[in-house]
């Protein structure tokens, strides 16, 4: 137990503060429960691709729920854009503004954001924001954001007790899944109201002034914890590079180059050396890039502090316009939330590996692998749209192995269960199983990736998939090795397999950004996700752990011998002498 060195400036007694701190977490939790339970689209209710948050009257983040970190900081920009377009003076209680424009604080276009001011006795108490990934808002891979589907500027969705029905008609006209629109809007409105009710309960109990003071102090609190964590890092300049395999319209890798400048209790994140705006849709608008930077650092700065805008105060951003990480209209941005955010994280963690090598973990698979597909019913011809996001492994840590098949830091979404998929859509799920030898080797190895196989009963199509990590697997740190590469395959009805994205067995590489890839009835889309990077030298891994991995068929005997220097015989017993010899020879 350590008390803080400087005594914080505080007006609330510690007990009221603690109660409010917890309540600011509870309000968005309630919002998410309502949204998940009342939603009509699988990507929300089953895959939980959404985030909810409460902001203070100055539009500073106060509390959020644990689903998609990449949504969170961008919400600050979308809430600001919403209230600039519709100033508070003209708003009534329960009015709601909708938007999804990536250039006004949106993330990729399917993420639709609803913003509602919460008034207590005519004064603005807080702002509730709900962002959810709708299954589809139209669009496809394009070189102009105009081709990425419906793009809503801030618009009134709900005003003076009335839903804007004309707007809803337009939205339904512009999506492949109009059947979900009204249900999802209803669910998001339910979420905003649940957040409102919780905040009003607090105001009623403590008074608005105390609640606002609590907001101020909870921001200071997170700021203090963040500053203390940065202060413990050695001052210096640390660099990290990562890349997206291609933008889908050229074969060139697109690099993010991070420089972290740690000075005292502040960090500057400088992305100036990153590549210019790209032709294809991986450009990441400022809000999306800022989100990615903040959550990537939070893992190592103040994971336990309340997730709020206090974190941002200790971090300075340099993201020049004209780089692909701060583009402007009409640059396309469809892959920003997935392929781009995760590379920012990996580059930052690689830089941190120099600053805090004993605390950093190896990069995760660094992809979320979200894809959108259509599948026609072989009998009725009815066209269904579905999506899924097969995760990869997490990186090894200083203390333990990385987690298998777990969502990237950018989100925390669930996969689509095979039985749900087969019940709702004309597809068969033939595999969702871990891949042997996919984990990055290390003293603490990464987690494994997964092989997903989706067979189309009628005609099928991968509408879009923005991903990467097909040229090289995720890197290890501190001597740990790379994980496996990702691959996109077509399995023919007779069983033959063709590579459609990534490296094939002959060393040919195919562009990994998929758009409008068709499948005949009986063909399957196969996706192999990557593992997480390894941590530390694999020769230092406890041979008994390698043996357990071999017995569990997570690691092959060949790889145990080659990469780990651990000799295991055909009866799956450890050969301790041969292992010692092998490790001695190679070290």
């Amino acid at each position: 137990v350590t008390a803080t060195t400087t005594k914080p400036e505080r007006q609330l007694d510690p007990i009221t503060f603690e109660v409010l701190r917890r309540s600011f977490e509870y309000a968005p939790e309630r919002m998410s429960q309502v949204l998940q339970k009342a939603s009509f689209s699988p990507i929300i209710y089953d895959m939980v691709d959404y985030s909810n948050a409460i902001f203070d009257p100055e539009i500073e983040l106060i509390g959020q729920t644990a689903n998609c970190p990449v949504h969170i900081a961008a919400m600050h920009f979308s809430a600001r854009a919403s209230l600039e377009r519709f100033p508070l003076a003209g708003l009534e209680p329960d009015d709601i503004v909708i938007l999804n424009d990536p250039y006004r604080g949106g993330t990729h276009t399917p993420d639709v954001t609803l913003t509602m001011p919460i008034f207590y006795r005519d004064d603005l108490l807080a702002i509730a924001v709900s962002r959810a990934h709708w299954t589809d808002v139209g669009g496809n891979l394009d070189t102009h954001i105009g081709g990425e589907g419906l793009r809503l500027p801030p618009l009134m969705l709900y005003r003076a007790g009335e839903l804007n029905d004309e707007l809803i008609e337009i939205i339904k006209n512009c999506t492949r899944t109009p059947q979900y629109v009204e249900g999802d809007i209803q669910a998001q409105i339910g979420a905003l109201r649940a957040g409102r009710d919780e905040m009003l309960r607090l105001a009623h109990k403590y008074g608005a002034d105390v609640v606002k003071e609590g907001m101020r102090e909870v921001l200071d609190y997170t700021q203090r914890m963040t500053a203390a964590a940065i202060d413990r890092m050695p001052d210096g300049e640390y660099e990290g590079v990562d890349y997206v395999d291609s933008d889908g319209f050229s074969d060139d890798p697109v690099h993010v180059r991070v420089k972290l400048l740690v000075r005292g209790d502040r960090i500057t994140v400088d992305l100036s050396a990153s590549d210019p705006v790209t032709v294809g849709p991986i450009n990441s608008p400022y809000g999306n890039t800022a989100s990615a930077i903040y959550y990537s650092l939070k893992f190592f700065l103040s994971p336990d502090a309340p997730p709020n805008a206090g974190l941002y105060r200790q971090i300075d951003l340099t993201i020049p316009e004209g780089t692909w990480l701060n583009p402007s209209w009409p640059a396309p941005t469809f892959g920003c939330t997935t392929a781009s955010s995760s590379k920012i994280t990996a580059a930052i963690w690689k830089a941190l590996a120099q600053a805090i090598p004993d605390r950093v973990i190896a990069p995760t698979c660094s992809e979320c692998n979200w894809f959108l597909a259509s599948a026609s019913d072989p009998v009725t011809g009815e066209l269904h749209v579905l999506s899924d996001l097969p995760a990869g492994g997490w990186g090894g840590t200083p203390f333990n192995d990385g987690m298998h098949v777990t969502m990237d830091p950018l989100g925390n979404c669930q996969n689509l269960p095979a039985e749900t998929a087969e019940m709702l859509f004309p597809v068969r799920y033939n595999s969702y199983q871990m891949i042997t030898d996919s984990a990055g080797p290390g003293k603490h190895r990464g987690g494994c990736g997964v092989r997903l196989e989706v067979e189309f009963l009628g005609r099928g199509q991968i509408i879009t998939m923005e991903t990467s990590r097909t040229r090289e697997g995720s890197p290890g740190v501190n001597g740990g090795g790379n994980a496996s590469r990702q691959r996109q395959l077509r399995k023919l009805a007779e069983g033959d397999v063709q590579t459609i994205g990534g490296l094939d067995d002959d060393g040919n590489w195919y562009p990994q950004m998929l758009g409008n890839v068709g499948f005949n009835p009986g063909e399957a889309f196969v996706f192999e996700s990557g593992g997480g990077g390894g941590w530390g030298n694999p020769f230092e891994r406890d041979p008994n752990l390698v043996l357990e991995d071999v017995r569990n068929e997570l690691v092959s005997r060949e790889r145990a011998a080659d990469i780990y220097g651990v000799v295991i015989n055909e009866a799956l017993q450890l050969d301790a002498d041969a292992t010692a010899n092998r490790r001695r020879q190679r070290s």
Binding site: E18, A38, N415, A418
Partner: protein, 687 residues
């Protein structure tokens, strides 16, 4: 003619006995003995002995046990195996690919229930419509059976994709295993819980396979000991769903015992609900390390269809919705990196325990706070000597950095832990569309009465009840239980498209099965009550709500009524409903109940009745306490010496044999004729 309720907890094994032929308060016996973890049946027999019960006089034994839960938590079971569909070996390990902590880089997931090297796959596949896509490869099935035999694996889960539609491949696989391993214990997912979504069904089946030998061996041992002692009474086991089943049923359905421990408390709540004619209750139980809350509606505990027993390990048997948080007497107060006072979830446990126990604990706990505030007796009723100075020293370590006095800080600690407990109440009420303010709060557990008023105030509840048997509530509740079985089948059809005749047939088949189960548990068909519900959702949704369904032959008019009922339930649970969306059935459920051999409530109540004439005062001493920033000299009452309708105004303390009730200023308590203490916790603006 004695009815026994027995509850085995982590520390104590509680016994509650009801003797119909004794008179007055001799009808009731309560005993606590130390739990014997190496063989829990030993403590059961010790408890019977120390209650001076003649085993031959026992008429029924109802037993709540954490044996299944503990085996699960510690992964202490004979190694099980899984056989599953090719391509799906890792469902049990991957879960739904979520991480538990959003920003913790070092987190790990709980180990899989069955390790990967013991998970086998075979080529087979049924479609979502139940049609054969790939027939079961018999050669491969035989080969897997031989591998199981070679590895000496005897308890096996068989869980195939889409087996909720049809179990024929799973049954073929079972036959293949039994040919090679005739004494194998095999759990099929199509028989365990035939519900759609593989993770929940696979997990539940794996759990059954893991627990079959554990629960089977334990119950056989207990039956043997009871028989040796001369007890020939039937043994019933408390189930997660709030009812009970025979020991024989429990040996076959061990996964239904996961919430067996706390379920007795909910039954005790049901009993109080009937006794006091109070329909809406929130039942709480405070222990040393955890706080539990559940909600009763019309006297019946709310049930959840799916419960995550560990991260991404959902069990899909109906379980009482009991929310548990790590907060209790042992919870440690600390200051976090941001300078904020926190309480729990770390606990000092029993060893070293709170600082005041004098066993080397130096960190301040909730118990230390209550001691320095004068809310608990430093001698614990003469049993023990608590170290007041050690408690104050421990609290000072957090009070000083915060600029608070020891007493201010101690009171803050009790407020924060009460607020944490209140969050558990919110989650079981507000999160499920119920307003906690409409409920009577019942406080169980020795420490239940310590914080009850603070917790109630925080959630806006104004009436709190502390019953006389609060310390052995689960054992007491066990004696009041009904036999209860829930059976389910998947029936996926839009209401508009559903054939009422087919629906009726499915229900009738379930009803026949549930009556057979009840009969096997000693409930004659004539005494069985059967109720239908359906788990339903809007077409395209994935979360179901439980909707009542009428009995008898169903017609089209009934379907419309069912859809209306669904909308009403959906509105309450989630706050929204819409007639614009079509509604679908997903799972049909039949709940069969049969009255157990339980004592009549009026007889039990009569035994609880205060017989005394109230000679002498109930005040045993005066004590200096601290409330809301001020010292008070308060009366300390002995609950056993209260008279009916006695009114006690706070601040005051009422001591029970195993617990304490704290009345803050403004609270008023009245003893009812059954020795229940009913408190009105008056609304007061917090902080």
């Amino acid at each position: 003619m004695i009815h026994l309720g027995i509850d085995i907890g982590g520390t104590f094994t509680d016994l509650f006995a009801w003797d119909a032929e004794a008179s007055g308060s001799a009808r009731v016996r309560e005993v606590k003995v130390l739990t014997t973890p190496q063989d829990p049946s030993l403590a059961v027999m010790q408890a019977i002995q120390s209650a001076h019960i003649d085993a031959s006089q026992i008429r029924s034994v109802v037993h709540g046990t954490t044996i299944a839960t503990n085996a699960l938590i510690e992964r202490r079971y004979p190694e099980p195996a899984l056989v599953t569909t090719r391509g799906f070996r890792d469902v049990l390990e991957i879960g739904r690919q979520r991480r538990r902590h959003l920003y913790d880089p070092y987190q790990v997931k709980p180990p899989p229930l069955i390790r990967r090297s013991r998970r086998f796959t075979v080529a087979e596949k049924l479609g979502a419509d139940g049609a054969t896509v790939v027939p079961l490869d018999r050669g491969e099935a035989r080969h897997v059976a031989e591998q199981l035999a070679e590895l000496e694996l005897r308890n096996v889960a068989v869980a195939f994709i889409n087996a909720y539609r049809d179990g024929r491949h799973e049954r073929e696989m079972r036959d293949a295993i039994l040919e090679v391993i005739p004494d194998a214990q095999i759990a099929l997912s199509s028989e365990t819980r035939p519900k759609v979504r593989e993770l929940g069904r696979f997990t539940t089946t794996a759990l059954r396979a893991a627990l079959l030998p554990v629960v089977g061996d334990y119950l056989s041992r207990l039956e043997e000991k009871l028989a040796q002692a001369g007890c020939s009474a039937p043994l019933f086991i408390v189930k997660s769903n709030g009812g009970m089943m025979s020991a024989d049923s429990a040996k076959e359905r061990p996964e239904e015992l996961i919430a067996s421990g706390p379920a007795g408390g909910v039954a005790a709540g049901s009993y109080l609900s009937a006794l006091l004619d109070a329909h809406s209750l929130i039942v709480t139980d405070v222990g040393g390390t955890s706080f539990e809350a559940s909600l009763l509606e019309d006297g019946v505990g709310l049930v959840a269809d799916e419960t995550e027993i560990e991260w991404e390990r959902p069990v899909v048997t109906p379980m009482l919705d009991i929310r548990s948080i790590g907060a209790g007497g042992g919870s440690i107060a600390w200051i976090d990196d941001g300078g904020s006072l926190r309480v729990g979830p770390q606990s000092a446990g029993a060893d070293p325990g709170p600082a005041c126990y004098g066993r080397g604990g130096t960190q301040p706990t909730v118990t230390d706070a209550n001691l320095v505030l004068g809310r608990i007796d430093p001698t614990l009723g003469g049993k023990f000597r608590l170290d007041l100075d050690a408690a104050a020293d421990a609290i000072r370590t957090v009070a000083e950095p915060l600029g608070l006095s020891v007493l201010e800080c101690a009171e803050g600690i009790t407020e924060i832990v009460s607020e944490n407990m209140a969050m558990a109440i919110r989650s079981v009420s507000v999160d499920r569309g119920r307003d906690p303010r409409d409920h009577l709060m019942v406080a169980f557990g020795g420490a239940g009465g310590l914080h009850a008023c603070q917790i109630a105030r925080s959630v806006g509840i104004d009436r709190v009840l502390v019953p006389p048997f609060a310390g052995v509530a689960c054992a007491f509740g066990a004696t009041t239980m009904d036999v209860r079985h829930d059976l389910e089948t998947t029936f996926y059809a839009a209401v508009d498209a559903a054939d009422p005749a087919e629906l009726t047939r499915s229900y009738t088949a379930l009803e026949a099965d549930v009556k057979a189960l009840l009969e096997a548990d000693g409930v004659p068909a004539a005494d069985a009550a059967v109720e239908r519900t359906a788990q339903m959702r809007y077409v395209g949704q994935s979360y179901e709500v439980t909707t009542p369904v009428p009995a008898g032959a169903l017609g089209h008019a009934d379907l419309a009524e069912i859809a209306d009922a669904f909308n009403a339930v959906h509105e309450r649970e989630y706050g929204v409903a819409s007639t614009a969306f079509p509604v679908a059935f997903v799972t049909l459920r039949v709940t069969g109940t049969g009255r157990g051999h339980k004592p009549a409530p009026e007889d039990l109540a009569a035994a609880m009745r205060i017989d005394g004439n109230g000679a002498g005062s109930s005040v045993k001493e005066r004590r200096r306490t601290y409330f809301a920033g001020h010292h008070h000299e308060v009366d300390v009452h002995d609950v056993e010496r209260l008279v009916a309708d006695q009114r006690i105004a706070g601040p005051a303390i009422i001591e029970q044999p195993d617990g304490v009730i704290v009345l803050p200023p403004d609270a008023v308590a009245i003893a009812d004729p059954y020795r229940n203490v009913m408190i009105t916790a008056s609304e007061e603006k917090a902080a």
